[in-house]
């Protein structure tokens, strides 16, 4: 990744930049809080934080319209917040409470909101890839112009079912954007240690799928690439692959000692490429927002996140009768 450069004055509006800033910051603060609650024993099991990758989902959500669908892996909190799900409901699911999106029965990795067209939250690496193609299959069958965003990581990108899904998605021209969040590490295995392919999006070319690599730390670049991909899909010429070059600051999960990379490597990215700092710089350098204005937003977000944590602590555990409900529709 390139060294940090003085951001050029962009032609993006203040409102748009503030929106990105707010959305990305909310994800980061939320995840920090989730990490804290995990440390306190309020969140159990697996908990995979999205810190560092915020620009990917925020930039792509800016390309969506009502009816579009999204689904991802177990690193899913950011995607839920970005598509407008209530932080309280997400945090309460993390603590396994009745106020959670799945009434406490799904947990961090398995959350859904049909109302917000968020189709999970999938704990099996790459399972969501054919599932996302299937959602797109339904939209095409039903004759609407909705697009499904199917997110998966560089680790999932080596699973066989991804390529089965690619083949059929292109064969049937399904309106699906495959978003590879290449954060360089599949748990502890770096991309270099898992494949000799140069790129992941390039593998789609073998199936006839259009695609490109994108600077996933730059929300504006993400948005621009997303617009292109969505237009292709809405025109009935999908699918499209976006390989987002990004980075996760935290471990794979909470129990990851991160011995597979150096502290210096992480610090370098944080200093030179941080997505939130990038937008902050754009706002401040162009004189679009003052420090005070941004501080007010910081405070607002802190309050929202704290309220979600309070809700997640206060919300009661699910009634024992819930053990036996929802097994069948």
């Amino acid at each position: 990744m390139a060294t940090k450069k003085e951001p050029a004055k962009s032609n993006v509006s203040k409102d748009e930049l503030l929106h990105y800033y707010r959305e990305m910051l909310q994800i980061r603060r939320f995840e920090e809080k989730a990490g804290q609650l995990y440390g306190m024993g309020l969140i159990g099991g697996f908990c995979h934080l999205y810190i560092g990758q915020e620009a990917v989902v925020v930039g792509l959500e800016a390309c969506t319209k009502e009816g579009d669908k999204r689904l991802t892996s177990y690193r899913d909190h950011g995607h839920m917040l970005a598509c407008g799900m209530d932080p309280k409901g997400v945090m309460a699911e993390l603590t396994g409470r009745s106020g959670g999106y799945s009434k406490g029965k799904g947990g961090s990795m398995h959350m859904f909101s049909k109302a917000k067209h968020f189709y999970g939250g999938h704990g099996i690496v790459a399972a969501q890839v054919p599932l996302g193609a299937g959602l797109a299959f339904a939209d095409k069958y039903l004759g609407n112009d909705n697009v499904t965003f199917t997110y998966f990581g560089d680790g999932a990108a080596n699973q066989g079912q991804v390529y089965e899904a690619y083949n059929m998605a292109e064969l049937w021209n399904l309106p699906v954007v495959f978003v590879i969040e290449n954060n360089q590490y599949a748990m502890g295995t770096s991309v270099k240690r898992s494949t000799k392919s140069g790129t992941f999006y390039g593998r789609g070319l073998a199936y006839g799928i259009k695609g490109e690599a994108v600077d996933g730390m730059d929300v504006l670049a993400v948005k621009a690439a997303g617009e292109k991909a969505v237009a292709v899909c809405r025109a009935g010429e999908g699918p499209y692959i976006l390989e987002m070059m990004t980075y996760r600051y935290r471990g794979h999960s909470m129990s990851d000692p991160a011995k597979y990379r150096t502290r210096e490597e992480v610090e370098k990215i944080k200093t030179e490429k941080d997505a939130i700092e990038h937008v902050r710089d754009l706002l401040v350098n162009a004189g679009l927002a003052s420090d005070e204005e941004l501080k007010a937003i910081d405070k607002e977000i802190k309050d929202v996140v704290n309220a979600s944590a309070e809700f997640a602590k206060e919300s009661p555990e699910p009634d024992l009768s819930e053990l036996w409900t929802d097994i069948y529709a």
Binding site: K69, G100, Y101, S102, K103, G104, K105, G106, H110, M111, F112, S113, K114, Y119, G120, G121, H122, G123, I124, A127, V129, P130, L131, G132, A133, G134, L135, A136, F137, A138, D139, Y141, L142, G160, Q161, Y163, E164, A165, N167, M168, L171, T325, D326, I327, Y328, A329
Partner: protein, 451 residues
């Protein structure tokens, strides 16, 4: 010397076929490899080639003849100047006919019992159809009624179905609703589950359930569990159907009964019909169900005929077993092809003065415990019959339920008759021993009756 040309077996389970067309006539000189005839099986119409060279001396079976048994002589090839009458007598044909006779007898018996079912009014007009036709009718009727119902799988469309279940559906419903997939079970199963979340009611045809092993993660982790994990927001209204269990001589990887596997999973419903009426009525119910339904068919049963009610919209509810035969001495509980052995056994036992009640579970999840327990409380003895492996079988679980709930009513231990605890062997004699037999069911019943 004259050579007999015999009716060929053109699929692992073929017992007979139709001689659709002769492409040679008496007096023609044929070469090896030349196409002699078109033969229609219940799966496809196939060309039949000559192996030997010679002159067609006689055509023994007329064009258009149906029900020609495998190995029956259909023509005689002679050498120059030789008489066609020199051919040996058709001994093999008689043997082949004798082998398949018991199956026909069971089917005929089934037809009689079917009329007495509580699933339709007693005066209902009935029609005879095969299990294959019943499955096809169920899908066609539901696809006509609901535009979100669609079929996907390998060879379901242009090929008209590997086992001809979907024959004609592409013509009626078009490629949008009858979707041929590449051979990628894992991928297309995931796509179908996603499509069910997106508002469709997909029917996934697995050419056989052996291939569904490639897709079992999507069936269980994605289809079965998501309604629960989403707190009731996202069920998967879909059907996974296809041939299950052993066909004939296809070896270990293509001969497994998955009834117990899928029945172990909360969130799935599991159906395994025996008769054509149940196949039709239960498949229609499965397609309308808002949950993922595993619908286990059997290749050997596809061609068997039963009486089916001639009603415009006939369904069978899940969770209701059917008593095929009432009896007082012992309860035989079975499902799917196991019913064949069970009904045969009951017939033989009756001759020995043992009155067996035969119950077809029909759906394994939900399972109709009430009917089974009530019957065992009456007969005080129970034998379960299934084709699958013994360890963790449906029968072993039923036995434990019976023991826990009505132990004092039992006069003998519950015996589970299953397939043997071995991968399916290929050799004909070994395969026969690996499979469940009617004789084993008879022996188990006699054992619990202390006879």
């Amino acid at each position: 010397m004259a050579v007999e040309i015999l009716m060929p077996a053109l699929s692992p389970t073929m017992e007979e076929g139709t001689l659709a067309k002769w492409l040679v006539k008496v007096g023609d000189r044929v070469k090896s490899g030349q196409i002699l005839a078109e033969i229609e099986t219940d799966k496809a119409t196939m060309e039949f080639e000559a192996v030997d060279e010679g002159i067609v001396g006689k055509l023994l079976v007329a064009e258009g003849t149906a029900g020609v048994k495998v190995n029956a002589p259909i023509a005689v090839l002679v050498e120059e100047g030789e008489s066609a009458d020199a051919a040996p007598a058709p001994v093999k044909a008689a043997v082949a006919a004798a082998v398949v006779a018991p199956v026909a007898a069971v089917a005929a018996m089934a037809a009689v019992v079917s009329k007495a079912s509580a699933d339709w009014p007693a005066d209902t007009k009935m029609k005879t159809m095969t299990v294959r036709e019943a499955l096809r009718e169920a899908m066609a009727e539901e696809m006509r009624a609901d535009p979100t119902v669609m079929l996907m799988g390998e060879e379901v469309g242009e090929y008209q179905g590997a086992y001809k279940i979907s024959q004609g559906l592409l013509d009626e419903f078009g490629p949008k609703r009858v979707v041929d997939t590449p051979i990628t079970e894992h991928g297309f199963t995931g796509i179908a589950v996603g499509a069910s979340w997106g508002g469709l009611r997909p029917i996934v045809e697995f050419m056989t359930f052996n291939f569904a092993m490639q897709a079992i993660d999507q069936i269980i982790n994605s289809a079965a569990k998501t309604n629960y994990m989403s707190g009731g927001q996202m069920g998967a209204p879909m059907v996974f159907r296809g041939a299950n269990g052993a066909a004939a001589r296809v070896g270990a990887q293509h001969s497994q009964d998955y009834a117990a596997w899928y029945s172990a999973i909360p969130g799935l419903k599991v159906v395994m019909p025996y008769s054509a009426a149940d196949a039709k009525g239960l498949l229609k119910t499965a397609i309308r169900d808002n949950n993922p339904v595993i619908f286990l068919e059997n290749e050997i049963m596809y061609g068997h005929s039963f009486e089916v009610p001639d009603l415009p919209d006939f369904t069978i509810p899940f969770g209701k077993a059917r008593i095929w035969r009432e009896g007082s001495d012992v309860t035989i509980v079975s499902f799917g092809i196991g019913m064949r052995y069970s009904l045969e056994a009951a017939e033989l036992l009756a001759k020995d003065g043992i009155s067996a009640e035969v119950i077809d579970l029909r759906t394994l999840r939900p399972l109709d415990y009430d009917t089974v327990l009530a019957s065992v409380m009456k007969t005080n003895r129970c034998v379960t019959v299934e084709e699958g492996f013994p360890v963790g079988s449906i029968g072993s679980y039923l036995g434990s339920v019976i023991m826990q709930r009505i132990f004092d009513h039992l006069d003998a231990p519950v015996i589970s008759c299953t397939g043997k605890d071995v991968p399916m062997p290929y050799a004909a004699n070994l395969e026969k021993h690996a499979l469940l037999t009617t004789a084993e069911v008879v022996a188990a019943v006699k054992s619990v009756c202390y006879r």
